[in-house]
């Protein structure tokens, strides 16, 4: 449905951390999962994701390891760290405060329970 991309700024890393909070995943898989879970609202680009994963790893929010899949293809899996989980928690709090503030201005109520 192609939503305004500028609205996405800043929340992508939170969404990635959230995905990895459930299970280890590789990049390509994250793109698919994000699209699926958001009902096609998100279509994260590979050119956005991979550099972001590298950054998150540098910041010790993620660690990575390579694994050979059934089809002999090598995939790079990412795992969330303790620090990453902490950051996720903080980002979720910020997200709640932010959306509540926007909804206050828009005149509607906010009941996000995430």
């Amino acid at each position: 449905m192609a939503i305004d991309k500028s609205l996405l700024t800043g929340s992508t890393s939170m969404l990635i951390l959230k995905l990895l909070d459930g299970t280890d995943m590789y990049g390509y898989q994250m793109i698919e999962e994000l699209r699926k879970k958001s009902n096609n609202a998100f279509d994260l680009k590979a050119g956005t994701l991979y550099p972001l994963l590298h950054t998150l790893e540098q910041k010790n929010m993620l660690t990575s390891y390579e694994e050979v899949a059934d089809n002999a293809r090598v995939r790079k899996y990412y795992s969330i760290t303790k620090h990453g989980r902490q950051q996720l928690k903080e980002k979720k709090e910020e997200w709640k405060v932010y959306t509540a503030a926007v909804n206050d201005v828009l005149g509607g109520a906010s009941f996000a329970t995430a």
Copy 2:
């Protein structure tokens, strides 16, 4: 409370249009109103707002006029146009889709009624 500024990207123009949907306002006033209505979550910078107002005027979403206040100070008031109202409506729709999608990924429900 100083929320993560990167989360604000893209929604500022929507908030400005919403403010002006109620009544004409001048720049400095918008900054104050936004802070008040968001319970201090938003502290929009003058260096962000004024260029944005100029852009919105160029895009025919706003018109402006000068008015002399009681204290003889000249203020530049902005008024939302029909086109601006239309854009506001669209942006609000996008905002709902976007926050719903994020909340879907975060695993919480979204009930914004704005």
